[in-house]
């Protein structure tokens, strides 16, 4: 346990310019300590605040200077108090940046040169505080001294720099200076600098759970038989799940101090045919389905014949990056690093990675990570070019699907859908504007909701609740924090900035709840939308008031709508249009009918359609429509409708009724019979 323990000093800037960010920093740091309480109970944490009004630190007491720095918590094993104290940081008044020295001093005093590589300093600042004058001249020397010391004890420095408002006069220069100073650190020591800009990403600026990296493979990347590259493979991403909780029982008497309160889950295997007969677990055997039968095969039997690939990572070849679809990535991601300290391996990986990047190529590899693994993984290596001299280039590895994993479902082509589904130029323009303007990564400013700095709202809520419950047994679940809503809902500022674009988009596309389909009850979400849409209908001007200008066949009274359209005499186009609309309407309600629920309405419409066509002496569209209906649906579950049509006596319009008809009275009768 202790072998793996970390000592962390948090250096927090609480100066005036930081006050706006402190709520997020409080959340981040208290969560960081809390996660240590859950997962790394032996870790030690110290907290140094700088920019405070008071001064209280060893160096100030011993040698003077180091003003406005307070050690708010000395290094000690994490406990619940630390979580609370970090939740309420004091607001300071002045600015300084000597904190690193104080933090380092704390670590060195406690450990000297022991405990190498397990000490970390996290600095959170906006780097707007000028470094104090006396040191200004000797800055270079000071940095040198500090970084040498840090290197000696292999301390890691993690700097979170909050990009604030740089417009204030003079601030710009200070920030640049400070950053240069930190850059110098990073040249000599293991320093990571992270820039964050908005409150949401501050919450994710430091990874709150510390997991010691473990390799999943160490060995050769085999390039044919001729060449091998020594690599280590680690996980790059791995889903952090909500902790699994144990079942709780309070059956034990309160006096029992050693009660575990656990519940044991017991499994009893019983014969299917005879529920009284219990089968001991070792008497069970696995059965595999083969057609209607189940074939019992013992695990020993499988062991002798099952697929046993040899451990190893083999290169199959290189291919164009465009041959690999992004959505084919199957799992969490691994990273292939050259063996540490092996220059040859680093260079070989670097040459291939940079070559891939330059020519847009990827490598296909076949991997068996350990002996005894029962399957192989085919995956793709993509380059990860490091921007730091200290970190070698590497590959990301993503598993790819096998032929069996791809399900070939067919979907209709968008281009072949009916015109009613195709956006017109105006609509397309509005969509373009929306995609362009609802921009989360505007050039020149920070990318919002970058996964690397976005916290998991569910986990955040769980740990917050856990902390509350630990303080007060019957704490209630607090409502969702506003900072988490920023992850789950669109940014209101972004929406209001683009209000005009959204309104335009909305006015060009008409949405309507599909009333024809019987919906599963209890789907509240749809009902919500229903109301929203109804409100919209009410608000949008071109619906109700302009009825005359743009008539259409609506759901309310289609027969009347149709008649209204036919009665319009301002253009002969209306008849054709009315017929078209009616055809589509009938077709649609039939198509979406559920258990015949739309049939009566469709029959009404069809009758009116037939009447209209006779009045207008336009028999052909109607007859054609009937033929089509019969042809398409005569043999499907809609044949009931056809039968109903026959029962209602709806048939072709014959010559007697409309001269243009090709159908005689006889044929019309026959048509009915054929149904």
């Amino acid at each position: 346990m202790a072998r793996n323990k970390e000592t962390l000093v948090l250096l927090l800037d609480v100066g005036p310019s930081m006050h706006n960010f402190l709520p997020e920093i409080e959340k981040l740091c208290s969560r960081l300590v809390q996660m240590k309480l859950v997962f790394n109970k032996n870790d030690e944490v110290g907290v140094v605040l700088f920019g405070t009004h008071d001064t209280d630190n060893d160096l100030a007491n011993e040698i003077g200077g180091y003003q406005n720095l307070v050690v708010s918590q000395r290094l000690k094993v994490v406990n619940g108090d630390a979580v609370q104290s970090l939740e309420n940081l004091p607001r300071g008044t002045t600015n300084v940046l000597d904190a690193i020295v104080v933090g380092m001093d704390m670590l060195i005093k406690k450990y000297g040169v022991t405990n190498k590589g397990k000490q970390r300093i996290c600095l959170i600042t906006n780097a707007m505080s000028p470094v104090k004058e006396p040191y200004d001249n000797a800055q270079q020397d000071q940095v040198d001294i500090i970084s040498t010391k840090m290197k000696e004890s292999r301390m890691k420095l993690e700097c979170v720099i909050i990009k604030g408002n740089k417009n204030e006069a003079g601030i710009h220069i200070i920030v640049d200076k400070n950053e240069r100073l930190l850059q110098k650190f990073s040249m000599k020591t293991t320093t990571k600098i992270v820039h964050v800009g908005n409150p949401t990403s501050i919450l994710g600026a430091i990874r709150t759970r510390r997991i010691a990296p473990v390799t999943i493979f160490r060995g050769d990347l085999e390039m044919g038989t001729l060449m091998k590259i020594k690599i280590w493979v680690y996980k790059k991403t791995s889903e952090e799940k909500l902790p699994t909780l144990k079942y709780f029982t309070d059956k034990a008497p309160p006096s029992d101090k050693f009660a575990t309160h656990e519940i044991k889950v017991d499994y009893l295997h019983k014969c299917f045919d005879d529920p009284n007969k219990v089968v001991p677990p070792e008497q069970r055997i696995k059965g595999y389905r083969y057609g209607p039968q189940v074939i019992p095969i013992s695990s020993d039997e499988w062991d002798t014949v099952k697929f046993k690939p040899e451990k190893g990572v083999k290169l199959l070849g290189f291919t164009d990056a465009s041959n690999i679809m992004r959505h084919h990535f199957m799992k969490d991601v691994n990273i292939f690093l050259p063996e540490p300290g092996n220059q040859k391996a680093s260079i070989a990986v670097s040459a291939i990675a940079r070559g891939m990047k330059e020519t847009n190529k990827v490598a296909i590899v076949r991997c068996v990570w350990r002996n005894g693994q029962e399957n192989v993984v085919i995956g793709v290596l993509t380059p990860n070019i490091s921007s730091s001299d200290k970190i070698p280039d590497s590959f990301y590895f993503n598993a790819l699907p096998f032929a069996e994993d791809v399900r070939e479902f067919q979907f209709p082509s968008f281009s072949k859908l009916r015109p009613v589904y195709q956006p017109n130029a105006k609509q397309q323009e509005a969509a373009d504007a929306l995609v362009k303007m609802l921009d989360l990564a505007p050039s020149g400013s920070e990318e919002s909701l970058n996964p690397d700095f976005t916290i998991n709202p569910l986990l955040e809520r769980y740990y917050h609740f856990l902390e509350l419950k630990s303080r007060k047994n019957d704490a209630e679940l607090p409502p969702l924090d506003a900072s988490l809503k920023r992850i789950m809902e669109p940014d209101p500022d972004l929406l209001s900035q683009n209000q005009a674009i959204i309104d335009n988009f909305r006015s060009l596309f008409e949405l309507k709840i599909n009333t024809k389909k019987r919906r599963v009850s209890g789907k509240k979400v749809w009902e919500d939308i229903d109301t929203v849409l109804n409100e919209t209908d009410y608000k949008t001007p071109n619906n109700a008031s302009n009825e005359l200008a743009v008539p259409r066949i609506g759901d309310l009274d289609p027969v009347k709508d149709f008649e209204t359209m036919l009665e319009r005499r301002d253009s002969s186009e209306w008849i054709i249009k009315a017929i078209e609309c009616m055809k589509n309407y009938i077709f649609n309600i039939l198509e979406s009918s559920y258990d015949g629920d739309t049939f009566p309405k469709a029959i009404e419409c069809l009758k009116s359609f037939r009447k209209g066509c006779i009045v207008e002496q336009e028999p052909k569209p109607f007859n054609q429509f009937l033929y089509n209906l019969h042809k398409i649906w005569g043999k499907t579950d809609l044949c009931n409708f056809i039968n109903l049509m026959a029962f209602e006596g709806i048939t072709l319009i014959n010559k007697k009724e409309a001269v243009d008809s090709d159908a005689t009275e006889e044929e019309a009768k026959l048509f009915l019979k054929r149904i």
């Binding site: 859950v38 406990n79 619940g80 990874r207 044919g224 038989t225 996980k235 991403t237 889903e239 909780l245 029982t249 059956k251 034990a252 309160h261 656990e262 017991d266 009893l268 295997h269 069970r284 389905r289 039968q293 095969i297 099952k306 690939p309 083999k314 290189f318 291919t319 164009d320 041959n323 992004r326 959505h327 199957m330 991601v333 540490p340 260079i347 070989a348 330059e358 296909i364 076949r366 001299d389 990301y396 993503n398 790819l400 699907p401 096998f402 479902f409 979907f411 209709p412 956006p423 969509a431 909701l449 996964p451 690397d452 709202p457 569910l458 609740f465 630990s470 669109p490 929406l495 909305r506």
Partner: protein
């Protein structure tokens, strides 16, 4: 690469009206009658292949039916099949028609799900065929028999079962006779042809399809226009391509990938809320998921009957049985923090299950390591909100053109996540859709899911880690040599899965030999040894490793080995000295005699065992008894 039995069903009629995507007919299963010609001509030896002397068209037909059945039993377990011979001596069919024999095994209807037994017995029918069923060409002058007609009739009758709405019904006809009525003349011939074609037409009218697989593969040997074009109602175009298609299909039947088929089924319907109350309906589909061998059923190894498992909760402290525990806990700050089940479900309920658009980003923001699990496909649906498809298509096109993806929050309560929606344009080859149009949901990691192992392994030694331009150039020429031009993810079948199915089949069918499944994922070792590749590889190797790499490697291994060897030796010596010292500290015989061995520690006991080269495993009692046995006591 077609994996379905008959993806297009090339004889099936399509209604090409304006009704588009709501009308997809999705049959859940297929009923197939294999109708095999058993006329003497089928038994004529094939001259083209001298190696297999006894190979006949009949064998070829049987073999492809067997492989098709073996595939069906794994991939389409609920399909039903019947096997039917025509032109036979014996007859066995419900209509009692001459010259038609329906093959079957016990415990099975004529048309039923394939069983291991059916496959096994059918596989050896060849030996018994002449004695039990017999070949006899029925269509001769004056007999008025028409076994082809009878065969079709029997097949049609078999397929009367089940509803046309849920089942695809097909007759697959195997024959090498392109002119079945060639032997007869006069009005009888015309009559018979007319009857047979009418029968086929009736079958098609009933929505059953007929596929013909001619066994002669060249057009001069099997002229489809002689008779079958009329039977199958082919147009000129179809006639001209008929043989090519048929050959492809025969090949398909015999080398099919064993894979369980999935019915196209939507995962869920989501509300995709875009902004300010604009919400559309979309359906999600699992297009890519790792396939596992079918589910297992636990059996009682004695009776081979299925077992059901019951779960019960027992309080660890009191041993009392608990009905449906309602609280869970976690230890935090050394205390039990208890949550009720309701609290937990409320905790998880952070979003209303919708897909919320957050905004758009350029595709370059989607990094290769932003991935956690297989993607999910989304396709619009107007079922709930009319107009959804139109909006979806408009956004889809904008995203493709502007090379942007949408960032959204998928608020399903089991695992709410930030997701990327990546638009995918349709990609299709000649008659097959490779990538459907729509969007893919990529599940993004949160900061806590991303690890930084590359930062933690930095060591002090200042090693140069970046390649020079020359080294990169050498890598580029290597890429050109080991270039997989048309690599596609579907290229490889999963060797573990294929092996699993093959073994299952061998055990189910009681086959003696365990099948060898080819592992397609292994690299082409021989190909990699082609001189051009070797040259490029060596050049690259020399550029990055230096000329003397192998020698250096060898030496470093040798030094390491000798170093560890001496170390080991030294250690061994030290250990054995120590051991002997300890060993001699005890009077082993006395201790054993007086039963005092049990007073020694395990370490001390092991001294004895090591010195006498005995195994060290087991508990203390085992060690003692081993020592005693060694002393012959």
């Amino acid at each position: 690469m077609t994996m379905e039995m008959d993806p297009e069903g090339f004889f099936r009629e399509y209604s090409d009206d304006e009704n588009d995507f709501n009308q997809e007919k999705e049959s859940t299963k297929e009923f197939i009658v294999y109708l095999i010609d058993a006329s003497p001509k089928m038994f004529a030896p094939l001259d083209r292949d001298l190696n297999k002397k006894n190979e006949t068209h009949f064998h070829v037909a049987l073999a492809s039916v067997v492989s098709s059945l073996k595939n069906q039993i794994i991939s389409h377990t609920y399909d039903e099949v019947a096997i039917c011979f025509f032109n036979t001596k014996e007859k066995k069919n419900l209509q009692d028609l001459n010259g038609v024999y329906v093959f079957n095994v016990n415990e099975r209807d004529f048309l039923d799900r394939p069983t291991a037994r059916l496959i096994k017995e059918f596989d050896c029918i060849n030996e018994k065929f002449s004695s039990q069923i017999g070949s006899h060409y029925g269509i001769i002058s004056g007999s008025h028999e028409n076994p082809l007609y009878n065969g079709l009739w029997v097949a049609q009758a078999l397929l009367r079962k089940g509803s046309n709405k849920t089942v695809d019904k097909r007759i697959i006809l195997f024959t090498n006779e392109d002119d079945p009525f060639g032997n007869i003349i006069g009005p009888t011939k015309a009559d018979m042809i007319r009857m047979t074609i009418q029968r086929a037409k009736d079958i098609r009218d009933l929505d059953l399809s007929i596929d013909l697989l001619p066994l002669s593969r060249t057009e001069d040997k099997f002229n489809v226009s002689t008779f079958y074009a009329d039977l199958l109602d082919l147009d000129d175009n179809e006639v001209s391509q008929f043989i090519t298609y048929a050959v492809e299909r025969m090949d398909d039947m015999s080398n099919q990938l064993r894979k369980r088929m999935h019915k196209k089924r939507k995962l869920r319907t989501l509300v995709f809320s875009i902004a300010n109350g604009i919400s559309i309906g979309v359906n999600t589909y699992a297009l890519i998921r790792p396939t596992k061998p079918g589910s297992i059923t636990w059996l009682d190894s004695i009776s081979n009957r299925p077992i059901k498992t019951e779960r019960s909760f027992i309080c660890s402290d009191t041993g009392a049985l608990i009905q449906g525990p309602s609280q869970k806990f976690s230890v935090y700050k050394s205390e039990n923090i208890v949550f009720s089940v309701e609290e937990l479900s409320e905790l998880k309920n952070i979003c209303n299950g919708q897909l919320h658009l957050l905004g758009f980003k350029p595709l370059s923001c989607l990094k290769d390591y932003h991935n956690l699990k297989p993607s999910t496909f989304i396709f619009p649906s107007d079922d709930e909100v009319v107009g959804s498809t139109l909006i979806f298509i408009a956004l889809h096109q904008s995203m493709l053109r502007l090379k942007r993806f949408a960032l959204a929050f998928l608020g399903i309560s089991s695992n709410p996540r930030i997701v990327a929606l990546v638009a995918q344009a349709e990609i299709s080859s000649s008659n097959c859709q490779m990538e459907p149009p729509g969007m893919h949901i990529i599940y993004l990691p949160y900061t806590i899911d991303i690890r930084h192992p590359e930062e933690s392994i930095i060591d002090d030694a200042a090693v140069r880690t970046k390649a020079t331009d020359d080294q990169i150039q050498k890598a580029l020429s290597l890429f050109k040599k080991i270039y997989l031009k048309d690599f596609s993810v579907c290229q490889f079948s999963n060797p573990a899965l294929q092996n699993h199915y093959a073994i299952l089949q061998a055990i189910a069918l009681d086959e003696n030999e365990m099948p060898e499944v080819e592992d397609e994922t292994l690299p082409d070792v021989e190909g990699m040894l082609r001189s051009s590749i070797v040259d490029a590889m060596n050049e690259f190797k020399n550029a990055v490793y230096g000329e003397n790499h192998d020698q250096e490697e060898y030496e470093s291994i040798e030094t390491k080995k000798s170093a560890t060897d001496t170390l080991k030796k030294r250690k061994n010596n030290a250990v054995s000295e120590n051991l002997l010292h300890q060993y001699s500290a005890f009077e082993w015989e006395d201790l054993a005699e007086n039963g005092k061995l049990k007073h020694l520690t395990v370490v001390q006991l092991k001294c004895y065992l090591t010195v006498h080269d005995l195994p060290l495993s087991g508990k203390k009692e085992v060690l003692i008894s081993r020592i005693l046995t060694h002393m012959n006591k």
